[in-house]
Symmetry: C2
Subunit: 339 residues, 2 copies
């Protein structure tokens, strides 16, 4: 069984994304947002069948942990109420996808974060999504300001309410920023990767997992720059008088395989313990083209993993075992389906 | 011959760093800064002989392209005049090191950047350092706000005056941020690496090297996250309808080898053209410890390169040929010495 831990609904029907525009326009003009539009099951089916489902079948994955489009979360737009309504609309749409394709997709929610706002509504939305919609995790934005980085580090007490709720519900978060309103940072080329690197370094500096030994966080995009600079991070942890990374961070932090070339995947598997790597593609995602050097899509990350010389047990960990361990509610759902 | 392109004077005598503190205190209190202290040649000699020179000899490098301590540039502190006085003091001290050890060190200058300020004084200081002090390049901070990222991207016309001066003087810049005043970003663990990644993506997005075909920029720390995500960057360049990276960026951009473990160096050399890699150690620098996995210092990057299976001509490029090409004034200085 092959589980892709990192898929976004980047192909949502146009009325959904149009509504977001109307919502933000209404906010700017001080008007109430219009009602959310009717979207038919057929429109949702089509948007999935022609994209994610087609690619999953072509590439040979069975299941995707599926969340709203990350770049569209845009927590820096509007205010707390705007984010709450947008998160709810996005999560409800994911729930409909899961309802239509229960064998192939399982939900992870967007949180209604907003710069400077408390995480109270995020805690409530996480509860709703897990307990009412059957979701198995959330995406947590370490920078709801969208490239201004005004929030405290993830190790700050500010974040503890959501971590407490995650532990109570036994769900992990993927640490995932959204679009950037800072012209210095290209979203998928700089902001995403920087955020991954930044979050990891924050975990080294802090002692978050002493307070939350059961907290689990997935850092996407192969852990940002971290595996490439693994020596630097081991050295910095030592300079900061922290325990070795394996004990200090890597019991709680996992990387996906969204690294779009073979040498990068080779490095990831060379330096990071197999128990910490989850198959992911970020599909349909950041880089949609075909690599002229291989003739295959950049984001067909399964090819890179298949090319590795892994024993079966390790391959199984990366393709499904680790995901089932990190997302126990996914494991329970799969078991209920006899899988 | 082995040239280290990335060395900082992190061991400057205490009166120098103490003066910086006094300067900033005076600024905050609205007083004029005190006079710069007397520092003896012996104090400078000792600070170098016991540190950089000792390590160069132990590790087997011949020459270091030497600049003021990057984390102490702190362009976000004080104002334009404070930065100008501090840059001048730092650069004059580098010139004294070079004067005392002309066979081993050659200077690269700190620029008096300041958030929001024009680059006029940076252009003047670059001229002074190159034409009067014999320096061969500069460190350019893409984020003088120290982690707030308030400056426009490096492809913006804001930066053109310094690029024009660099081209006129035929000197490169290393793109190097300083310390971070943003609690989200650890300086050497996040801000440095993020800045490298960010700058590279800015170069992909823009067309800077169409305007400046002779401009040369070194991105330190092995290019940040870029080589690890080389497929992502090739794909993003394609998605943005830019030429292949080799033509679009890599005629003008170079990476150093400040990657502190063998697998990272292996990846760097696997994906980046040999003509774009310059030996560097960032010594005495960011990570000072000994790697328990190897028993050697993390930042002894020469060991990793020596372990590569390179033909002699390629090894010579990385150790000296590329540096002499990217820093032609260094080449001229070496030729004048018969080296």
């Amino acid at each position: 069984m092959i589980i892709d831990c990192h898929g976004h609904y980047t192909t949502a029907p146009a009325p959904h994304t149009d509504w977001r525009e109307s919502q933000l326009t209404a906010f700017r003009e001080g008007r109430p947002a219009p009602g959310y539009p009717a979207i038919s099951d057929d429109d949702i089916r089509e948007s999935i069948e022609q994209n994610q489902l087609r690619l999953l079948r072509e590439r040979g994955a069975d299941m995707t942990i599926f969340s709203p489009r990350a770049s569209a979360m845009a927590h820096h737009e509007g205010d707390e109420r705007v984010s709450a309504a947008w998160a709810r609309a996005c999560n409800d749409l994911i729930a409909r996808v899961v309802g239509l394709f229960p064998d192939t997709f399982i939900g992870v929610c967007q949180l209604p974060q907003s710069p400077g706002a408390s995480l109270t509504s995020s805690v409530a939305e996480l509860q709703r999504c897990v307990l009412e919609l059957g979701f198995v995790g959330c995406n947590l934005n370490p920078d709801p300001s969208g490239g201004m980085w005004t929030a405290p580090p993830l190790t700050d007490k500010y974040w503890y309410p959501i971590f407490e709720q995650m532990v109570e519900l036994d769900v992990p978060a993927m640490v995932h920023v959204s679009s950037s309103c800072n012209p210095s940072f290209h979203a998928t080329g700089a902001h995403y990767i920087n955020a991954d690197t930044t979050a990891f370094m924050q975990f080294i500096q802090g002692d978050l997992f002493t307070d939350f030994p059961d907290l689990r966080l997935v850092i996407p995009h192969g852990g940002g720059a971290v595996p490439y600079h693994w020596g630097r991070y081991r050295g910095l942890s030592d300079m900061l008088s922290k325990p070795p990374l394996r004990e200090h961070v890597m019991k709680n932090v996992f990387f996906d395989t969204c690294v779009y070339h073979q040498p990068g995947i080779d490095l990831l598997f060379e330096v990071i313990d197999i128990d910490n790597i989850l198959f992911g593609s970020e599909m349909v995602g950041a880089v949609r083209g075909i690599d002229p050097q291989t003739g295959h899509h950049f984001d067909d990350t399964k090819r890179y993993i298949d090319a590795l010389d892994l024993v079966d047990a390790d391959r199984e960990k990366v393709y499904s075992g680790n995901a089932r361990r990190v997302y126990p509610r996914l494991d329970a759902a799969l078991r209920a389906l006899g899988r």
